[in-house]
Subunit: 429 residues, 2 copies
């Protein structure tokens, strides 16, 4: 019989099964209020939009690009370019929404943000001394992909406002001192999962300057950008004039997850030693050809139709959703404030204005057992922050506010407050 210990070592790492564990916990308590699920809310989904967007893209192929019926069928149903068929449309959206100006040839369309992360890591990391820097806490999809590829990860503790440039600098210097190479830093500048933090303009600029000085790349994950409040700083890529930033995005939040569609922008020139020969995007595409060959042109067509239908502004198309998510964050803050109005300071939380997540600090171990009690006895689910960081998350929990209505949030926070009070009482008896 096959034994688990005999498989790839990543299979024995809890980091690989976080996702399944969370799904399983949610499935066991279907009636609980779940602050665990980071899904976008389905009130913004319309099944009929599949047909509408697909028709819009087919019209684009026939009318604007002048394709014959045979060529249209081929574009949708046949094998296609590994880099994708909607690169121009994505480049136009990036210019419209994010003030990012890039040649469409530097865009690779991927099977979700996850494939974008995987192929980026595989392409960049070659040697055993290469280190991937990540914030601690960090999105499990990045550390999971690194596990599959045997890439060494260095965790940089987040400050209250997210990744602090001085902490990154310290980590970079330590790595160099150890004879290792800081190859890339993964960073979510807007509404980070799981910490909920967003970086200010100065921090963004300093990270780019650091990357340039110490010759590492920034892998920017901009999944939650469309939900940022007006006046938020530009993306790292928009601020990047030295090609230090690889920019990753997804349609899972700005469109819907069922598309499984993302993209990576890699406009860095690659040299063969004598001079520039091609773009980093071309290397990513070579790697992608051995992961999924190419991204489903059907999914690309639907996303393409979506971009054409909204005048290339996913921010505008998501204005209502952005308001909903921001109000959910505000509701959670208000309800927590109401529940913990006593002068007791042992329960605290951050106050993100962007993204789907916030973090609550509690005066007890927020572990699997605590989660089980919370789910079983109080019918409220959350995610232990320890899943996302090696140290410092023991007494913290993540609340996802995206998949709940305001009424559900009120009920959930009330249950959570009861749970927290009772846990505190357990500690002191």
């Amino acid at each position: 019989m096959l034994t688990a210990a005999d498989l790839h070592p990543s299979l024995s790492d809890p980091g690989l099964s976080v996702m399944s564990f969370l799904n399983e916990a949610t499935a066991r308590y279907p009636d609980a209020v779940s602050f665990a699920s980071g899904r976008p809310h389905e009130q913004f989904f319309e099944l009929g939009s599949l047909e509408v967007f697909l028709a819009r893209f087919l019209d684009h192929l026939r009318t604007e690009r002048g394709l014959s019926e045979g060529a249209v069928t081929r574009e949708l149903l046949q094998y296609g370019a590994t880099s994708g068929i909607i690169r121009e449309l994505i480049a136009t959206m990036l210019r419209t929404d994010e003030q990012i100006s890039v040649d469409p040839r530097s865009v690779v369309v991927t099977t979700g943000c996850q494939e974008a992360l995987l192929i980026t890591l595989r392409t960049l990391f070659g040697g055993p001394d290469d280190a991937l820097l990540v914030a601690s806490p960090c999105y499990a999809g990045v550390t999971g992909a690194a596990l599959l590829l045997g890439i060494r990860v260095e965790h940089v503790p987040e400050g209250p406002w997210g990744l602090a440039p001085e902490q990154v600098l310290a980590a970079v210097k330590q790595l160099i001192g150890e004879g290792r190479r800081p190859r890339a830093l993964y960073v979510v500048p807007e509404g980070a999962n799981p910490g909920g933090t967003s970086l200010g303009l100065d921090a963004r600029k300093e990270l780019i300057a650091l990357a340039q000085e110490y010759d590492f790349l920034l892998i920017e994950d901009h999944a939650y950008a469309v939900f940022a409040p007006a006046g938020s700083p530009p993306s790292l890529k928009a601020l990047d004039d030295a090609a230090q930033v690889i920019h990753i995005g997804t349609f899972s939040k700005s469109g819907f997850p069922g598309l499984r569609l993302g993209y990576v922008v890699a406009d860095q020139a690659l040299s063969d030693g004598t001079g520039p020969t091609r773009l980093l995007a071309d290397a990513l595409s070579d790697v992608k050809s051995m992961v999924t060959v190419n991204t489903s042109p059907i999914a690309q067509a639907i996303a393409g139709g979506m971009l054409l239908s909204c005048g290339f502004s996913l921010r505008k198309a998501n204005a209502e959703a952005a308001l909903f998510y921001r109000e959910n964050l505000a509701t959670a803050h208000r309800e927590l404030t109401r529940a913990f109005s006593a002068p007791d300071k042992t329960v605290s939380w951050n106050r993100p204005e962007s993204g789907f997540f916030m973090v609550v600090s509690v005066p007890f171990e927020a572990d699997d057992e605590a989660l089980e009690r919370s789910a079983h006895d109080y019918q409220v689910l959350w995610t232990p922050m320890r899943y996302f960081q090696r140290a410092g998350g023991e007494r913290k929990l993540r609340l996802s506010l995206s998949y709940l209505t305001p009424a559900e949030i009120r009920t959930g926070i009330s249950r959570l407050a009861n749970f927290i009070e009772d846990e505190r009482a357990r500690q002191t008896t």
Copy 2:
């Protein structure tokens, strides 16, 4: 500037860019007859089928599974189970078409056959002494995925009828003698790409017996199964009563490539040392969660509708296509026979009855330069077999017969014959 040498070593291996090279050559000679493209023929594609199959699956969800409209929308547009939402339908198809009886829980739906290969290799290969055995010549997608993952590959020379069990045994014994572990053998028993070979019943049974005796797994790629002539032997998985076989399939040939949909069947029990705890499929699913999270439910819905519409028999649905491809193979054989009717035996070819491919041996180096002359001067494209094997392919070329009409094949073989005659003349002058 980033240098190519500074990226992951796989990026410097020609094995990773075979696909792009072939596409690029085809694009440069749009008017050539191309025996290079292994695409399925578009005469069997209907753009309108997208809508029909999708509607059929939605009806299935509403009527047969009794889902509410909200649940239907969630199933199609939201994140979903990593293992897929059409596992039962695929299991029914496997029982109907392939006499493979498996629990649907042992099926993982993947983003094409390529992701199935990648996650299977990542899951199985843990140690530096683990070896992946492949036929030589071998499909570039397997060796490419192994390159990305740093897996050592051992090439077993094919005989005229494909992978010979005695050659596999010799390779296995040699590996064991070197203190290494033969972990798995990748095998395409029906219409192999690129060799065109199909294994007889005895060879299939012997491979399973060998795998059992020497404790390695068989990774069966059954991409071309639906085109096999009546009376072909059963798949390895259908013959497997000791769970030695991991079975991989794709909808790219039986449906259409734009779906980017495949599946892997892994019903092996996994033990944690004390007893069976879960299936190998569950481990594959954990790995998949870090590659593409889950497979697009939209693509799954279309494939599901296809399965429901054809009574779960892709073989029946593809009967006309199978005839077309087999007749194309026969046409190529007939035209080659006509062109090389002289007693000269320096040009020969095999005669596959299944799949998309055949191999022609020529009396000169079939390399990139020869291909360039063939394309430029004779307007006929093919693939050097050296792309698919380390040794033995220097004077061989692969013909793909799938993407051409009989008339195009006649024209193409006539051009190819002229090219071969002139190359031979070049050699002797």
